[in-house]
């Protein structure tokens, strides 16, 4: 896509994850990822967006070592994930999309197990701190099967943080959780980032990416179609609209207004002017003056701006 590349942010910090030429074709012939180039910067929150089946989870699973790539390379915190998998994986924590937990284990035992599995010496103080941060301390002796879905999600995060990773993948971290818990999760993610952890999250909630992400990547049909600073993306691809509610409905847009990008809506009672959010010249002033000259009065007006969701839908539907 002109104007966009999957590189690092100008003036950004050092890369912590570098993906180069990554491809994944499954045995059934499905190409889940096609030539992915991506750089994640240290200390950022990167949101990976995409519709179901776009390749988000496959990308994460390859970086984490769960799926074998067909081609390409990934370097995590300076370590190749294949040649130097021990060092690479010890830096990475993963919170999977599904609530996969050791049902019969206690919260404490499953978290300490994760720490050991990732090669770290026992550190009860650290595990206790993680559980307290996630409001799980009071339930540390509870069997996981007795916890609610939201609590299980927290347990998965605690397990991922048990070995003190510097890179944390959150695959749909707030899927199926209530609004309050979602807000708690967002706060937690920000605290982790403030503590130096790089966060890569996938989400279906565009609001989540809009709220939290520093940069956004959109993956569609296995291809990374855009990677951009969130604010810049919204500025570049966002649309603004001026909506005028007319005193008298119009049957058609007068020929004298043909030079403006106008549309009629609500049976001719609403006139809509669309323009690029980053455009220096919106044409609003000239339009209002021209409407006055033509005697077209309006009783109300307001403006709106595209959300990240509008941009995302436009990108994946080929209507940027």
């Amino acid at each position: 896509m002109p104007g966009f590349h999957a590189g690092s942010r100008p003036g950004g910090s050092a890369a912590v994850v570098t993906v180069a030429g990554l491809r994944k074709t499954y045995a059934n012939g499905l190409t889940a990822l096609d030539d992915i180039e991506l750089t994640i910067e240290r200390g950022e929150i990167f949101a990976l967006l995409g519709p179901n089946g776009a390749g988000k989870t496959t990308l994460i699973n390859i970086i984490c070592g769960i799926v074998t790539p067909s081609a390409g390379s990934v370097v995590a915190d300076g370590h190749d994930i294949v040649r130097d998998y021990r060092a690479a994986r010890s830096k990475i924590g993963l919170v999977p999309q599904e609530l996969h937990t050791d049902t019969f284990e206690s919260v404490w035992s499953t978290v300490t197990f994760s720490r050991g599995l990732f090669g770290r010496a026992p550190d009860p103080d650290h595990c206790a701190r993680v559980l307290r941060d996630l409001s799980l301390w009071d339930r540390r002796d509870a069997k996981i099967m007795t916890l609610s879905g939201g609590m299980k999600r927290r347990v998965l995060i605690a397990k991922a943080l048990a070995h003190e990773p510097t890179i944390l993948f959150l695959d749909e971290p707030t899927a199926g959780v209530d609004v309050e818990l979602r807000r708690d999760m967002w706060q937690l993610v920000r605290r982790l980032r403030d503590g130096g952890v790089t966060i890569i999250l996938t989400t279906h909630y565009i609001e989540e990416a809009e709220e939290m992400a520093d940069r956004v990547g959109v993956i569609h049909k296995g291809r990374l179609i855009v990677v951009e600073d969130k604010t810049l993306l919204m500025s570049k691809l966002g649309k603004r609209q001026l909506i005028l509610h007319l005193q008298q409905p119009l049957a058609a847009i007068p020929a004298a207004l043909s030079g403006y990008p106008l549309e009629l809506a609500d049976g001719g009672e609403t006139l809509v002017l669309s323009f690029d959010a980053h455009s220096g010249e919106s044409g609003i002033a000239a339009l209002l003056k021209r409407l006055g000259e033509l005697g077209i009065d309006f009783k109300d007006l307001h403006s709106s701006e595209s959300s990240l969701e509008d941009i995302f839908v436009g990108l994946v539907s080929g209507r940027p």
Partner: protein, 253 residues
Amino acid sequence: MNMFAIRAIYRFEMARTFRTLMQSIAAPVLSTALYFVVFGAAIGARMGPVDGVSYGSFIVPGLTMLSILTESVSNASFGIYLPKWSGTIFELLSAPVSYVEVLIGYVGAAATKSVMLGVLILATARAFVPYEILHPVWMVVFLMLTAASFSLLGFIIGVWAGSFEQLQVVPLMILTPLTFLGGAFYSISMLPPLWQRITLFNPVVYLISGFRWSFYGTADVNVVASAAATLCFLALCILAVAWIFRTGYKLKN
């Protein structure tokens, strides 16, 4: 070597055993004890000695081996199948552990449980029938080799299985018949000549024969052949596991 990971997996698996003591330990010990009561103390008293050993004593090594084989396979297959089934396998696959470390953790725990069980069964057998152990070192060697080999086989089955039913197919439909027909309850010299030759294709014959030799000094097949067959089986299982890990068969992708 990621010793912390090995320890974590091993302790996790052992904790599962101690959480289910009735199923993991008590049930197999009880069922084997029933064999000793029925075939050893009751029916065995009316049977003549086999290879110079009373029938009750004769079946001790075979029954112990029967439990070790089935429990090794069951423990190891369940140990790796459970995270596959529940989805927690993602954590193992994303951890900085080598396949050897994974194997030491899972198979080590399964083999430990089997050896514990074997010792318990032998102790229980002492209450019902007399027996001796002429070659205790070899007895321990056969016990550990068998536990390790069949725990590896169980690991392979656990990786291969796509359902709980498949998990049970190999132990119930293949291993148990092979063990029953492998000389657990009789000496193969008691079979007609043709069946004696056919029986030699049953790998369990070599395990039971070698194990029984360590008790009484008599064997259906040469003890060196038994040891060689056990080691060959162990090597085959290691090769199969290495292939699984190299290709990611049923674990990745």
